[in-house]
Amino acid sequence: MKSWFRFGRGKDEKDEVAVVEAPAAEEPRGGFLSKLRQGLARSTDKLSDGLADIFVRRQLDEATLDELEELLIAADLGPATASKLRQQFDQRRFGEVTLTQVKETLAEDVAAILRTVEKPLAIDPSVKPYVVLVVGVNGTGKTTTIGKLTAELTRAGKRVMLAAGDTFRAAAVEQLRIWGQRSNVPVVTGPEGGDAAALAFQALEQAKRDGVDVLLIDTAGRLHNKANLMAELQKIVRVLKKLDANAPHATVLTLDATTGQNALAQVETFRAMTDVTGLVVTKLDGTAKGGVLVALADKFGLPVHGIGVGEGIDDLQPFDAREFARSLTGAI
């Protein structure tokens, strides 16, 4: 079992990187695979049922391929990626196929796309404090993700500090403070409606003074098409760089799995504005298929660090391309 983050200096030194085992994952809580499978399988019933419908009855002709493409679209993969997968499928020139073959092949194709983005969040232990900025659209689960990440890092023996950078939404600071209490870590707060950048600056100063290992900065949710809110985010980054030219060392974008093709616009804009280094996909325990992740991987190739599969403190799991693809297509 691996953790969804690791300590190391990046991909070039992969061999020396010690993968940190998250203690919680070792507990016999059903394991993350079963939980993920549970969540994903539930959510992908439709796609795999659909697959069963098409292939039990027919040979692989044009009409069948049409239906396959539509099923992929219905799973939020988007028209472009769906059409690409369909063509790949078509080129194989199957004669008679069994359903299992179809699922396996499709899962392989999807996994091939996803594998390129399966990368845990690399936390460099030589950088202190390692600053992680968490950004995203409103209601995608930034604060909850920070809460879960804090728990995992604390268990791994790291000293964590939180910064309540969402000074806009009512009671957002309070929400983060409660998460901080759960893991018993300090939370730097400012007045509601205050300047988020100033707060981030203070938090980094304090994190340096106190010698913490990781500083997680929460931000207010913002729609990516609001120019001045995005500029505010850039200001946070600019201000952090005054104290540490490399900060933030990671910028994580949270993405709601129920989001459709708009996720492409979200990633594109956030990445252009704040140099997002990776994604966390939340709410994968619902009926949403998170299929847009395939479209995202295909288009941007941005690392996916973890997936959220519940509201509990331990419900953040590493992203596993093969597992995700197999659950999505029902190949498990």
Binding site: E174, I178, Q261, T287
Partner: protein
Amino acid sequence: MFDALTGRFGDIFDRLKKRGALSEEDVGAVMREVRVALLEADVALPVVKDFVTRVRERAVGAEVLRSITPGQQVVKIVHDELVAMLGAESETIDLAAVAPVPVLMVGLQGSGKTTTTAKIALRLKDKERKRVLMASLDVRRPAAQEQLRVLGEQAGVPTLPIVAGQQPVEIARRAMETGRLEGYDVVLLDTAGRLSIDEALMDEVVAVRDATKPHETLLVVDAMTGQDAVETAKRFDERVTLTGIVMTRVDGDARGGAALSMRAVTGKPIKLLGVGERIDALESFHPERVAGRILGMGDVVSLVEKAAETIDRDEAEKTLAKLEKGNFDLDDFAGQLRQMRRMGGLGGIMNMLPGVAKMKAQMANANVDDGMLKKQEAIISSMTKRERKDPLKILNASRRRRIATGSGTEVADVNRLLKQFQQMQDAMKQMKKLGKKGFLRQMAGKMPPGMLPPGGLR
């Protein structure tokens, strides 16, 4: 929300309109493009298939192929079918029941229930003069109840006092009891976000429903939701029987597919739209107008309504009188700028004008935006009273420099503003010569001057 879809449809139909006659294949090709446009906009697949089939059937029928303007005819069919898909009539929150009327808010996590609850409360309080009580039944997310309390303070709407440890059904009962005893008209019940497949939590919301018998049960849905939107709506409807839908984050750049498919799949009307972070950013939903907006036909009705709502009539009358006399000064100009901002700024107004989707993109490129309006206001506020009264006569180079420094702009900006003002005055004089007095007077009733961008857009 629908900008991207408007753009796509605009391109598709522009080509179509140029054609003289249409063959069946032509229609087929167009419908394939429409299909992809809708799918990229996240419209639910069954809805798209249904829509495309219906439009195609009507379009290859006699009414189009023999028409003199077949392209126009197809656009009309698409418009009609869009309206049919969205629900023909606009519906609003129904409060025709015994007070206190319980309204239950449900939805997935992070869809915007709490914010929407506060927005609805404010709307009912201000527009319908109702006494509203809000209660949060969210005992799961940290600080959720606190969030509603703070929002209540901002909106000036009372919230049920928080009792730690109380469970949702008990809170709901207490809310209704308080509503009865203290004479509230409406009780808004905000629930915790839940997944439609979480049986335990769905049971809980069913229990709340049974305990309070809500007159309205509104599902709050994020406009950016993908294909899963209809699945969620169906499941919630099965369990708690929805009466309507509120779409949130409509001010994002999502293409609005969820909004388009909701009605078609669930049969439930979209009642309200959340259009911003501010607590008053809530709008009614008008299917016909939205269809028009998607097809680039604009939404002038909403624009006029908005103008009537936000423009101070007295101020408008005063400005008009001044205009007629020809002594319109920079103070009046600043007043108009403020009014435009109140109406949602240039972007908000442009959205509702017909055929400006393309122009809007150009404006964005040229940086003509609300920043410009603000700048102009700043310049005017940096002038003395006397300067504002008669700017063209007394503003010499040194004064212009001072104003530019004071407002944080360049002298060129000040000059541009003055030139614009001069043009306006010239236009006024000309109107006067032409004897349009009566015409302007007549306009006052319908279209206050704040509606028209002062002196054009440059």
